[in-house]
Symmetry: D2
Subunit: 468 residues, 4 copies
């Protein structure tokens, strides 16, 4: 039965529609992260509005598809997990092009690129001119950058690669059709730092044969973030592109400051960062940032097809949900948590007769020596930690043996250097870590270590007694 | 208040848990598309079970993350749109490796690869030995294949490319660091077919400089699917890899038969197909199939990082939802619908004084001449169809002008040939098209054409009268 | 990076917003089931729009709650399962009142009432003037009607109740504070039909002591739907309200015809039907229909509080999803399926030496005799069917023992009559039953019966042999 | 392609299934709110598991429905919003009975009843023996209690009702078929308190004609929660049932203490509380608590049908999500917030020349005089607050006029007393209110008041000048 809806209700309803339209249109006009975060209801409203722009969701007429790809989705559950946005982003041959069938998905892509730029500005990279969110891992994104520079440097065969013992970084070079010239880091007290001299020499010698220098700003201690300022100056001096692998470096204020400085004093062509590691979204995307508008355009053009819109969607939803006000919070929190973790680790190390490497520029990862554990048992200690529900903690042992990756041989792979050491434990404090988690980490670390040592002792006893 | 739950209810509950476990374990053991499709409830059960295998969803202990990437997701809505599977697939440097932190995501990846293989077997590609689902578009997947072959053919610089006027296909070659040797199709009555002779000659001449030959099996009429059998024989004879771009070719029985024959009589190294175009899932993934187990292994190893699990998830959910019984239905339906569309198009063409190209091997796309529309007005006709809610219908005009893509010049880009023609309209019948849609398509086509012709006539009148 | 969104995209976006607004406003204006069903995307749009009208979802300002109930929901999952509509419907003391805090929920309630009326019109109850959807079971809804009539008939103590062996029907009378005068049905060949004479006599004798007569139109065979026309004439003649329990009677064309006729030739004050049984929504709601506007108003006013909006939501979503075009389909289908079931049951009965009762007016439930099964074993047969996954099939045995419900004693409860019989099996064909299900039902029935008979035989043998 | 899943992964997978089963079985065994809250993932797991117990979700065989109600749901969206639990709770005629078709839904109902009891214990009502969650508003639940006591007190016609100006409370009495004997509160300084003497006298006089006394423990100031201890002693002395309307009283420690004391020193037959107001779930349910096991059983039996499982589900999900550890938090927080609100209100009142009533026993609602606003303008002030986004704040004016509800006449309805006063503003602090909200409330209150006063002044000026 009809309730008595009257003039007042009608007016309110018009106000509601007006407010919604205003909110959405204003978002689209500004293309900026809103100041205050949005509620889940508002996110629903946003997704409904956006997906209405894709032709297969038209409400004013039944769409008829006469092409080979019309966003048809068979399974209702799958449809829903994509919020009816099924066309992907980009158009054959350019990730930035508007797809006429899928204006909503194209708007989503555009918003994600603009939001990413806004986020980098908020974090301190004010000079960034343009960003693109790609549904690719960091390695593929590095590869895409290198690929897009090929035509510019027709004689290039090599990429100067500052050794970082992570497979995907190295592979990204081969994937793009180049070969690495490997520069080992040098030891500076506890830290492993960039061998700037060698890079300079190589570039002077090889010049046009070099496609770019790839530096890395986020890494496991005791490796330090690379000296991007110095490399940037060298690249500028010799007109060689500079590619920064900043995988999870947005978490570190110091790293951001250094990248900004590197741009000011020299040359940075593209900075690549993982979406999941910095923005707390699921794995699957990266954001490529550039200090010139056209740098991104050429990268977008080198992607050969249409791509998933999911990473773009996840980033946009997350930044809408946070708003500017809450966006910086987890980064500030990470800084505090890292210091707390460091203090706790130093104290734990002291108790057990170990020490923590001093790597002042690495504000994410720490390394504690494992000198009291026989090298042959160190890996076992790592797997005990994993069994205790601690993920990401990583035992690095030292070894003279060779590891071959894509045809390159590495001694002591995993340690970022051929130099031998006594073994160490890496733990990192990433954005999103909670106080409770940190407490729990040290509780488990302590008890696991105690148990491990007791068992080692028992074993020794057995060996000793059986050895008699 | 407690109801009187007794022995009977307890037994039934144990039976329920047992049935669920049996279903899921048996799926995992067999890694095959089940015979009957699963309900949404069962899909929920499956997703809950799977995500329980990722460390951050452990129910027996609170997981503690001490690494740089722990599947942390900030926004509840995003978490939910990923069904708590947030770690992605693969491990730094190999898409097929198991991620210890994310066993559930790894199992999902494995299931998607096995399901893809099973699906291809059901469709008739019985000799396929191995498949991988990648969260990449078709172009990127082609590129990944080429990249993975680089080390095997160190002298290779070129890819023999049978002209297909689609940017992403061409770009995939450049993206991988090679250059195309372009072979134009030749005219055979209405069809544009593979110039086998020329391919043979090039391969004889260039030998080791050729990385591979790339053929295309799904395309817009009047281009015919390539003669993969002949090319495959040539490739086998000269020991050159053969890469098949089968973007949306799984829809065509004839194409599948030809790929199977090509493998039998010669050499096919990898066959790449789009997920969304063949399996009715959202844009974002592709499946690469090979007739040898190790071919896929080396492709998987060349991906430099961890990747989104979304396309794998979408494929698995869709195939579980369909089951074997319903899986083949839409393909059979496409065949019928294509014949129906063809008949209707011929009849429509006759009515308006046009004709439909005879391209017997193309079972997906048709082309109708537009000789009665002045070339200068043809594009307008296309945009009228789009405005009427018809997506994917595509007007192709003929032109002498050049289009430059990645430095290559093409005359008459869009027509797959430099040959001039009188303009035509492409419409395709893809998997998922419904009877209702087809009816509606011709209703709108007929009325749009009538209106368009009337307006052309009026305009002519105006011009004539003003011209007097 | 910004894509080149231009004038064309801006125009299309405005068109999109306009179309959405038009669709939603037009729905609200007409308050009618749309002709064509809506897609899931459009349902999302509708829910987002609706929930925007509740104050706690305002997007233009942050709402501040200063009352004792503000729609606060703690758990995100719960919030989502309610699509952000958390205020319920109605206002302290009237289900039809608009809740100022929750205009969206109030609109939803209004739409559900109007849709229910529209649906009844489409089904043939054209004279219905007003409906209300209540989040109550059928029994409670009957009770609510009786309660609302109390003031009108201050001397009333009794409800004339035409025996139907279903507890909730009887209890609804006691719940409302009245007592039943029980009238047993009379046997007419196979059917149990209304004893019109007795009803007439009681009403003549008791007059104002009678609150109303309650008839039942949907029941298990061999009970027939009540003779609502005759009762309606009696009620009109003596000015006694007539309450129709039409729990799942909307499925039967014949029942609808009879209710319409009863209204024309006499008096029907309210007709109550279950939502889940007729409209394929989850259990939890009912719709009360009346042929006069003010009848519903007074029922709505007697509900003492605010109520769940879930049944209203489920009905509205379902009718939007179906549209008028598909709404009648399942009802037509039920009719065919019932005839098919009947034919199959007759054939099955013949094969095993049983027969099916002829109850021509019951178009939903059938009953087959179980004369070949010893009475003591009949219940066992029923539980075997349940174990085979057949739900709803019901074995009715005959018994002289008494069952007491709310103080009333019944002989042979479950059979709708004290008359003894040889036992029978009830199966029903409800709306939503599929062909596949029907086939499967008879397959399992046949095999279960065969197995049951074999085991009975074996048992007899054992008894016989042990008896020697 | 198959990844190399080995023994280790197999073991982990078995561990995962074991952990899940253990968690769920242990929950079911204990039927207690878990100590730690569950994640959304675990809630999904729980819902999947539960719904697997309903026959129509069986995974081991295809269920066949042969009844009139089989949980069929037409619309996928509706199915999903019910997490596949569509059968409702209870069985024709008893809310506590197990529904054989729907064991999962029955388990859910059972868990909700046990969780409710556990929650009341945690809050301090340790003597509660049994609870039932009903999908009914508070008023209907009160009515259900009264209905269930009818048979026990066959001569009862009246309910002694301590005036509380809320329609649903009064209506619940009429709904159950009784009439109220209204007892006005008496003034004790600022508070309106229970007139214990009068209640005692009425019960002495009327005895068996009284069904029960209904007290109210949560109300708007200046009405005080009723003196349940004194009434309880009277009821015990005269053997009259005592029904406590504790709608949102669980929020107040003092109220809980008093109900516990009332039970100890006298007689409390049932205590009814709203789910949404106390547990932060959507509107639609209530929990009835009793200090004797069989009290609830007879209430459950008087519900005439099967009911929605949604309120039970919402409660269970919420309590699982919170866990015991977080469950008490919002209640503690409410206490602090109420004191803060009170301080702020007193300070605001002082500033504008008003005062706040001293009602020490009311720990939820406060009332501030509005003596400085002319009575005729007070309502306007209320609607201005609403327009500013403040919901729930309520202006109460004084009036000599009569309001008729269900035939009863009230003078000054809304004030809980016929006594005249100068008008006041009610604001409440309910569970879930946040600091931010409180701040915002006073900011808006202050600015709205200032604006309102300015406009009153202007208006006065106009009147004065025009009056000259």
């Amino acid at each position: 039965m009809k309730a008595n809806f009257g003039k007042k209700e009608g007016e309110y309803s018009r106000l509601v529609s007006k407010s919604s339209n205003k909110l959405l249109n204003s978002l689209w006009e500004k293309k900026q992260i809103p100041e205050e975060g949005w509620s889940e209801h508002t996110l629903d409203l946003f997704l409904s509005w956006l997906s209405s722009h894709d032709t297969n969701n038209r409400v004013d007429m039944i769409p008829v598809g006469a092409g080979e790809r019309e966003g048809r989705v068979l399974t209702p559950l799958v449809q829903r997990l994509h919020s009816n946005l099924t066309h992907g982003i980009g158009r054959s041959g350019n990730l930035l092009e508007i797809q006429p069938k899928a204006l909503g998905s194209s708007m989503l892509a555009c918003l994600s690129n603009e939001f990413a730029k806004h986020a980098l500005h908020l974090l301190g990279l004010h000079a960034v001119k343009s960003c693109i969110v790609v549904p690719l891992c960091t390695g593929m994104s590095l590869s895409l950058c290198m690929t897009s520079w090929r035509r510019r440097r027709p004689k290039a065969k090599y990429v100067v690669w500052l050794r970082i013992d992570q497979k995907s970084s190295l592979k990204s070079i081969y994937h793009a059709g180049f070969e690495p010239i490997i520069v080992e880091p040098i030891r500076d007290r506890d830290s492993l730092i960039t061998d700037v001299e060698t890079v300079n020499r190589i570039i002077e010698q090889r010049g046009e044969e070099i496609l770019c220098v790839m530096t890395t700003t986020s890494c496991f201690a005791p490796r330090s973030p690379d000296n991007v300022e110095a490399i940037s100056a060298i690249c500028a001096a010799h007109d060689v592109p500079h590619l920064v692998n900043n995988a999870y470096g947005l978490q570190s204020e110091e790293t951001i400051r250094k990248i900004a400085a590197a741009h000011e004093c020299g040359r940075v062509d593209a900075v690549v960062q993982s979406l999941d590691k910095n923005f707390q979204v699921p794995v699957g995307g990266a954001v490529i940032a550039a200090f010139k508008q056209n740098h991104i355009q050429s990268i977008a053009q080198s992607y050969p097809g249409r791509a998933s819109s999911v990473p773009s969607r996840d980033l946009v939803l997350t930044l809408l949900y946070q708003g500017q006000s809450a966006f910086l919070e987890p980064f500030g929190k990470q800084k505090q948590m890292f210091l707390k973790m460091r203090r706790k680790l130093i104290s734990f190390a002291e108790n057990i007769g170990e020490c923590v490497y001093e790597v002042p520029e690495n504000e994410i990862s720490s390394a504690m020596t494992l000198s009291t554990i026989p090298p042959a048992k160190q890996t076992l200690f790592g797997s005990i930690l994993f069994a205790k529900g601690i993920t990401g903690a990583r035992v690095v042992t030292s070894s003279q043996s060779k590891t071959t990756i894509e045809g390159c041989e590495f001694i002591n792979f995993g340690s970022h250097t051929t130099e031998q050491h006594g073994g160490y434990l890496n733990i990192a404090c990433s954005v999103g870590m909670t106080d409770h988690e940190l407490e729990e980490l040290f509780t488990r670390l302590t008890s696991s270590y105690a148990k491990f040592v007791r068992e080692l002792a028992k074993e020794d006893e057995r060996i000793n007694s059986s050895g008699r």
